[in-house]
């Protein structure tokens, strides 16, 4: 079973309408490629994600927002800041580095 099966994944950007939606779609492509079925994959604004992050296993954000999520890793949440929010290859590489996909 893939390590991300039944995990909760969140994608955040400033507004929760543009780049976080792109991130969600790019993440979904990686999930499909690996046949992973996360329990939840959604996007939201950083303002909401800040407090919600602790309830997720993996949180993606655009790099400028990484510092907003300082501390969420103490709860076991894996934070993955992205340079290019629509790049499935970057997401795939980051998940590999985090040991979440093989």
């Amino acid at each position: 079973m893939a390590k991300l099966d039944n995990k909760k994944i969140l994608a955040c950007c400033a507004n929760g309408a543009g780049s976080s939606l792109m991130m969600e779609k790019a993440i979904d492509k990686v999930m499909k490629k690996y046949g992973i079925k996360p329990a939840e994959l959604r996007h939201c604004p950083v303002s909401e994600g800040k407090s919600a992050a602790r309830n997720y296993d993996v949180v993606f954000c655009a790099r400028p927002f990484a510092k907003t999520f300082d501390g969420c890793e103490a709860n076991g949440t894996v934070l993955i800041p992205l340079k290019n929010v629509m790049s499935s290859p970057e997401i795939e590489a980051a998940l590999k580095e985090a040991g979440l996909i093989d």
Partner: protein, 160 residues
């Protein structure tokens, strides 16, 4: 179904500029075609400018692309649409947190009032943003005919 570029042409949601402008002015100009048919209010661009001022130029991507936008159902976003603009001169958005220059020539300014339509727009834009030959052709475009010709020559495929 019409592609986003076809819709941009059909609805006259385009603009071509040749003058040097600030990024704030560029955002205003890129939204004007949306103001003209009531897709957004004439104040809507201010929401976008405020958002970029607050969060930095994270809406500027690689390949001179800017996707200025506010939140879904933002004040003044009456309909869902994309205000497309080609700036012949590079618009300077400053630097990001890594000191990397953020510059744009292609503007895709978003208004989101309907979630499904917006979702479809975003999916299509993702393909366009990763289609470099198309982006290069769009940067050279001077007319709606050029936009359609660019799309016909470099159609988008499902990218990964």
């Amino acid at each position: 179904m019409a592609t986003v570029l076809q819709t941009i042409v059909d609805k006259k949601h385009y603009r071509f500029i040749d003058e040097e402008v600030t990024w704030q002015e560029a955002v205003r100009l890129s939204a004007l075609s949306l103001v003209e048919d009531g897709t957004v209010s004439d104040e809507y661009y201010k929401e976008i400018v405020a958002c970029i001022e607050k969060h930095g130029p994270y809406v500027v991507f690689e390949n001179y692309i800017a996707m200025p936008h506010s939140t879904e159902n933002a004040k003044g976003a009456f309909k869902t649409g994309i205000g497309f603009m080609v700036s012949k001169k590079i618009v300077d958005f400053g630097e990001d947190e890594d000191g990397e220059k953020k510059e744009a020539k292609l503007f895709f300014t978003l208004s989101a009032a309907n979630a499904d339509e917006h979702m479809d727009n975003i999916s299509q834009l993702m393909e366009i943003f990763q289609n470099e030959p198309l982006l290069n052709a769009l940067m050279e475009a001077n007319s709606p005919e050029d936009i359609l010709a660019a799309e016909a020559k470099y159609p988008c495929e499902d990218t990964y």
